[in-house]
């Protein structure tokens, strides 16, 4: 076939033109493929973060959170229950004897109030397709040595001796004493009383006492104070108690497609399969250097770490995950839950279901993807917003620009050959034959360009993925609330600003076949259309004009 040989000759013998055009077309399609792929990957990443609910098969999360408004709506009894739930009674004296080591975990539901699991029955089956219960609690872990909390002060019991130096009797005083005795003896004799009898001795003593100088009349005595012990509480306790907060979630293990975490999110190890098992959040396990198969002490139990999970429900993450029943019994919250994940029967009726849920659960808040999206900020959101805007307007501009580049290159390369086309006409080539020749050549160039463009794009994407581009999204975390945050909210304050989770999302750019097709179509269609138009125009030229063309 002459025309194939001619085509081949044109491409290979004008190789610098072929390369230039191919490269130009390749760049144009690669830019389209890369830009669209990056935008798509960004919006996928954004969806994962902005709508974390979908990651766990959920449309709506039902919680009852503590804020002034909600609290007002709840009746007195429940409110007291909730207050009770969230208070830690720590009686140091119960921990053990002073000096003994202790370790204690206090479980608190934080800002998400617990309610009876039976409330799940309120879910309207026409609106709710599936639901999973959960219990997310903040654990305040305390350990140390039981401190001496009292001081015993014992008073009394001492023997007091009072000794006084008394002036010795003067001669006069002694004489008065003698005189008094003599007088008393004489008086006794007169009365006929024996001075050695009891009565006589008393009489004698009284008489002598009376004659005794005043200072001798004071008694010399000894006494013992009664012993009394005072127990006094001492001021601030100086102890070695260390406290730490962590969040523990009870997972509804009866469900595998809806829940705080799902079996599919376990990145290493396994899902719950028996008693006393725990699954750890990867971030927490890394921080604590926990290893699979190791033991984690929680609530006085030794749990085996069976799995590491990367939870996808960013708004309600926990550090450790237990089967719901285990956490309920460990925390003394039998049959109580504080989060319900709901899958709506109908994707269109999510809002309706939300409202119905809020009505059915007094003081409850139904959170859907629109609400979670609002809680997220960070570079990912910025980048994705940028690309969303980008996809809207700029991608059209880019595609148009690529199309123009392709067309200009094609028209340019066809125009280079106007004179040659004139020659072909002079030697009797029909317009059809000329157009077919030129168009075939441009289709081949377009295909070359498309193939190289896909290659370039795949390379560029691989390079991007090689240099880990990570974007962050900051999510205000509702569950890992500190008691202080709780208290603050009780008084209607703001959420603890520092209490948020920053999720780093690795941007993995993936290109779909559709994107590659679109990118290659721009090169192929562009060079085909522009090539055809340019060839038609050139073939319509009079040979005279074509031959005079100076190019």
């Amino acid at each position: 076939m002459f025309y194939l040989r001619y085509l081949w000759a044109e491409l290979t013998r004008r190789w610098s033109k072929t390369l230039t055009v191919t490269f130009g077309l390749a760049m144009a399609s690669a830019i389209i493929i890369v830009i669209i792929s990056v935008s798509q990957s960004l919006s996928t990443a954004q969806d994962k973060v902005l709508n974390p609910l979908q990651n766990v098969g959920t449309d709506i999360i039902v919680t009852r959170s503590v804020d002034a408004e909600n609290m007002a709506a709840i009746d007195e009894t429940s409110r007291n229950d909730m207050m009770e739930d969230n208070s830690i009674g720590m009686n140091l004296a119960e921990l053990g004897d002073p000096g003994e080591a202790f370790s204690k975990d206090n479980f608190m539901p934080g800002s998400m109030l617990t309610f009876d699991a039976a409330e799940m029955d309120n879910l309207n089956p026409t609106l709710v397709k599936e639901a999973a219960a959960g219990l997310i609690m903040t654990v305040m872990h305390q350990e140390g040595t039981v401190p001496d909390i009292t001081v015993d002060i014992t008073t009394g019991g001492e023997t007091f001796e009072v000794n006084e130096d008394i002036e010795p009797m003067t001669d006069g005083e002694r004489a008065a004493q003698d005189a008094a005795r003599t007088k008393a003896e004489a008086e006794l004799k007169e009365r006929g009383v024996d001075p050695r009898s009891h009565e006589g001795m008393e009489y004698m003593r009284d008489a002598m006492d009376a004659a005794m100088p005043e200072r001798f009349r004071q008694k010399s005595m000894t006494f013992v104070a009664p012993s009394r012990t005072y127990r006094q509480e001492v001021g601030p306790i100086e102890t070695n108690i260390s406290t730490g907060n962590l969040t523990v979630a009870g997972v509804d293990t009866t469900k595998t497609d809806i829940g705080l975490i799902l079996p599919g999110q376990v990145t290493s190890g396994a899902w719950f399969s028996g008693a006393d098992q725990v699954i750890a959040n990867k971030a927490y396990a890394d921080k604590k250097s926990y290893a699979l198969g190791g033991t984690i002490e929680l609530g006085g139990k030794a749990l085996t770490l069976v799995g590491i999970v990367e939870p996808q429900l960013y708004t309600n993450t926990a550090d450790l995950y237990l089967p719901l029943a285990d956490l309920q019994s460990m925390s003394g919250k039998a049959d109580r839950i504080n989060i319900i994940l709901v899958k709506s029967t109908n994707a269109q009726s999510v809002e309706e279901t939300s409202t119905a849920l809020e009505d059915a659960f007094v003081g409850a808040k139904a959170t859907d993807s629109n609400d979670t999206a609002k809680e997220v900020t960070g570079s990912l959101v910025n980048a994705a917003n940028l690309t969303n805007r980008f996809i809207g307007v700029t991608s059209i501009i880019v595609i148009a620009a690529a199309f123009i580049i392709v067309s200009l290159l094609t028209v340019f390369s066809v125009n280079k050959r106007i004179r040659e086309i004139g020659t072909l006409k002079a030697i009797g080539w029909s317009n059809t034959r000329i157009v077919r020749q030129v168009v075939a050549e441009n289709i081949v160039l377009g295909v070359f360009g498309a193939v190289c463009g896909i290659g370039l794009a795949v390379g560029a994407i691989a390079l991007m993925n090689h240099y880990d581009i990570s974007l962050t999204a900051t999510v205000a975390n509702a569950s890992t609330d500190s008691p202080f945050g709780f208290a603050r909210r009780m008084f209607g304050g703001e959420t603890d600003a520092s209490n948020s989770t920053t999720t780093t999302v690795q941007l993995t750019v993936a290109s779909t076949y559709l994107t590659m097709l679109l990118g290659s179509l721009v090169a192929i269609v562009g060079s085909f259309v522009a090539g055809t138009l340019a060839a038609l125009k050139a073939s319509k030229m009079k040979p005279q004009e074509a031959l005079r063309n100076l190019e």
């Binding site: 013998r13 020659t423 072909l424 030697i427």
Partner: protein
Amino acid sequence: MPIIKAKNLSKRYQQGNKTINAVDGVNLEVEKGDLLAVIGPSGSGKSTLLMLIGGLDRPTSGEIEINGVNIAKISDAKLTNIRRNTMGYVFQNFNLIPTLTAAQNVEAVIAKRTSHDRKRVMAVLQQLSLDQRAHHLPSLLSGGEQQRVAIARALINEPDIILADEPTGNLDSKTGEDIIRILADLKTKHGKTVVIITHSEYVKKFATKVVEIRDGKITPTR
């Protein structure tokens, strides 16, 4: 019947508000087997006249008959056929397709190739002493060789008329004379009708007819 007959043939170009009468009321008859030499100063309209005769351009007015057919009015497709089957063109700057070899340049003219064609191509090239150059690209050939390839290309379809526009213009005088002799041979040995635009006096030795053009008009010569 003259093979070429121009009647009051005119071609005007409009350049701004200026009208250029490139060819102005030319009457001309060329008999089969003639060798017509067209001479004249630059810009006098020689090339324009040749284009009109060869069906590469259409006149503004007047008629141009080839073998009794007025090609001024026929369809593009018919004109293409006439160009392919009746005319052979030789240009001053050869106008070879640079990406095709000598043989391919000649072959390009053949619309429906048969197994026989390759032999014909080689025969024509051999006739012009180009058999050693058949598979060279134009850029590797000398000017004279390139012009001979162009002549081979003009001959492959065995046309009645060979039109040459200053075929020696880009060649040295010795090579130019070789080319003129080849073209003259086409007339004498093969009975072709040859029209040559030239400044070369050498052509006049072979010409059966010489016309001079000035400002688009034929002025009578000897």
